[in-house]
């Protein structure tokens, strides 16, 4: 059920260049509804400006401990203000929002492909897949080694391969290059990252593999009511916040 959760901030710590991990105390009952790949809409502060909530993917939910983890990059005013929040402060969270990653029951090996701030939502997914005995390979990409994070965390799920544009970590090139270079085998793929990355993956694997891509778009309501966050699909316009953010390979239509 979508609800407003007033969460106490437990930790808000830099884990990579301009990238922070925010750990929030949350009601375990509410967390039980969080599927992998969903996002929350975060109120920046109790003020008229910045006005809109910011959509941030859920990195991990820990129902036993009642903890919700977000990883975000400081890119503008809202995320900068988020980064200034201190332990003990209350953060107003609205969620869970969106349709997350479907967990395939028959895939034996999956590949998680994350680029930049597309990395976080893959972790909860990988955790659940690994728990089910699925072989999980993670491919993380960034411009350079400073943009990579969570390598150890994903390492607990299986093999981790990296790609950087400047070659400072792992394969030099894009995640798609790394997948080929490392000859990774998989039944199903899950990806989240910048649109050009998703497009490249989509074009490469649509029709050939099963797979799911998580998109981003500017949002206002986050629940499908304002038509602000549409994306073109072969079945017409769809709402990234409600019908997505996750769409199947081959669904999206690129300009």
């Amino acid at each position: 059920m979508k609800r407003i959760m007033l969460c106490t901030l437990i930790e808000n710590r830099t884990i990579a260049e301009d990238t922070l991990l925010m750990v929030l105390k949350a009601d375990p009952v509410a967390l039980a509804d969080f599927e992998p790949g969903v996002f929350v809409n975060v109120r920046i502060m109790d003020s008229d400006s910045p006005l809109l909530r910011r959509p941030i993917s859920v990195h991990e939910t820990d129902i036993e401990k009642g903890m919700l983890k977000l990883i975000y990059k400081v890119v503008g005013e809202g995320t900068r203000k988020l980064s200034e929040k201190k332990t003990g402060e209350i953060v107003d969270i609205f969620g869970p929002l969106g349709t997350g990653f479907p967990i395939q029951s028959d895939a034996k090996s999956v590949i998680l492909i994350g680029g930049g701030v597309g990395i976080p939502p893959l972790y909860e997914l990988g955790k659940r897949l690994a728990e089910k005995g699925v072989t999980v390979t993670t491919v993380l990409g960034a411009r350079n080694s400073e943009g990579l994070f969570c390598l150890e965390e994903f390492g607990t799920l299986g093999r981790v391969v990296t790609a950087t544009e400047d070659g400072s970590h792992g394969v030099k090139g894009f995640v798609t290059d790394a997948i080929k270079a490392e000859d990774i085998d998989f039944d199903c793929l899950y990806a989240c990252g910048p649109k050009p990355m998703l497009k490249a993956i989509d074009i490469e694997y649509r029709g050939k593999k099963e797979g799911y891509l998580s998109f981003e778009e500017r949002m206002a309501c986050g629940i499908g009511a304002c038509y602000g966050c549409m994306t073109k699909t072969k079945d017409g316009l769809k709402r990234v916040c409600k019908d997505g953010p996750v769409f199947s390979l081959g669904e999206a239509v690129y300009e």
């Binding site: 400006s49 910045p50 006005l51 909530r53 009511a225 304002c226 602000g228």
Partner: protein
């Protein structure tokens, strides 16, 4: 007690309370129905409907501004056939719906108005002559008094339901617009629609919105909205449904004082998805705090005081 104090009767609309979501900010209600029981609302102003399905503008359609936002949705809607379906779904709620009608020509407005009027749970039509986000038509209807007058008259001829004309704030003389639609036969006025605004992306040099300009809404515009409601209240006799930046029960009271008989809440639904429910709960207390025993008593209050 508090249920009596909130009641409002307007042409075609017998409202439990004066609070409703504004058009375009609440879709056709389905998404918010997952959050709370829509029956608590006075009404719902549903998303604009045009004759045919419209895809609207390109992305990005949204941008944030200080205490406000720009949108350029561009009237995306499933067309009149699709909207009739949405209305059926809304029949499960015991509230009169206000249907927002848009078009590019007088004929289109008239056609859509006539058809949507036949939908049982539509209590009144809101004629959107002020959408700033469509490239032709639309906006001119809302900025020229003569054109607005003639459109109002035309629509009155084809519908038996009361019509509320939605005024654009992007005009020199809002009172003249109000008088024009009143003489055209409008049963009420809803106001304000969004102010035309723009943001430029420093990195690309291009407008942040694909459409170039967009409509400014949210708390930033409230002082402009209150001023315009205040002016229009003095200019016409038909009732006003006021909106523009409302985000709590105190804001509602300010609009009532200015002359609104009821209010709509738009952008605030994005900030606090439960805002309409919260306002309805808090309104009786706020009315009492300032010495009013009913919503009706507060309508136009500022105009009944002498002096300055």
């Amino acid at each position: 007690m508090s249920s009596e104090m909130l009641k409002v009767d307007l042409p075609g609309l017998s409202l439990k309370n004066p609070v409703m979501p504004a058009s375009g900010c609440f879709g056709f209600g389905k998404e918010f129905a997952e959050l709370y029981d829509l029956n608590i609302l006075g009404s719902i102003m549903v998303k604009a409907v045009t004759r045919d399905l419209r895809e609207g503008n390109q992305m990005p359609r949204l941008a944030e501004t200080p205490s406000g936002m720009l949108n350029a949705i561009g009237l995306q809607n499933p067309g009149i056939d699709g909207v009739e379906e949405e209305m059926k779904w809304l029949e499960r709620y015991d509230i009169p719906i206000i249907s927002n009608v848009a078009g590019y020509t007088e004929d289109e407005y008239a056609y859509v108005a006539e058809r949507i009027s036949k939908v049982r749970n539509v209590g009144a039509l809101e004629i959107n002559i002020s959408c700033p986000n469509v490239k032709k038509g639309g906006i001119t209807f809302g900025t020229d008094p003569d054109v607005a007058y003639s459109l109002t008259k035309r629509i009155k001829e084809v519908t038996g339901k009361p019509i509320y004309m939605k005024l654009s704030p992007n005009v020199t003389d809002i009172a003249a617009m109000a008088r024009a639609v009143e003489s055209g036969g409008a049963d009420g006025i809803t106001m304000i629609n969004t102010l035309v605004g723009m943001r430029l992306d420093l990195a690309t040099g291009r407008p942040v919105l694909a459409n170039g300009t967009g409509g400014l809404s949210g708390p930033a515009v409230k002082p402009v909205a209150v001023r315009m409601v205040y002016e229009v209240y003095k200019a016409v006799k038909i009732p006003i449904i006021g909106m523009g930046g409302i985000r709590n029960a105190e804001d509602v009271l300010e609009f009532l004082y200015a002359g609104a008989s009821a209010v709509a809440v738009g952008t605030a639904n994005f900030v606090n998805p439960f805002v309409c429910r919260d306002i309805i709960e808090e309104l009786p207390g706020v009315l009492r705090k300032y010495g009013f025993s009913s919503v009706k008593d507060a309508v136009g209050y500022s105009h009944r005081l002498g002096g300055r």
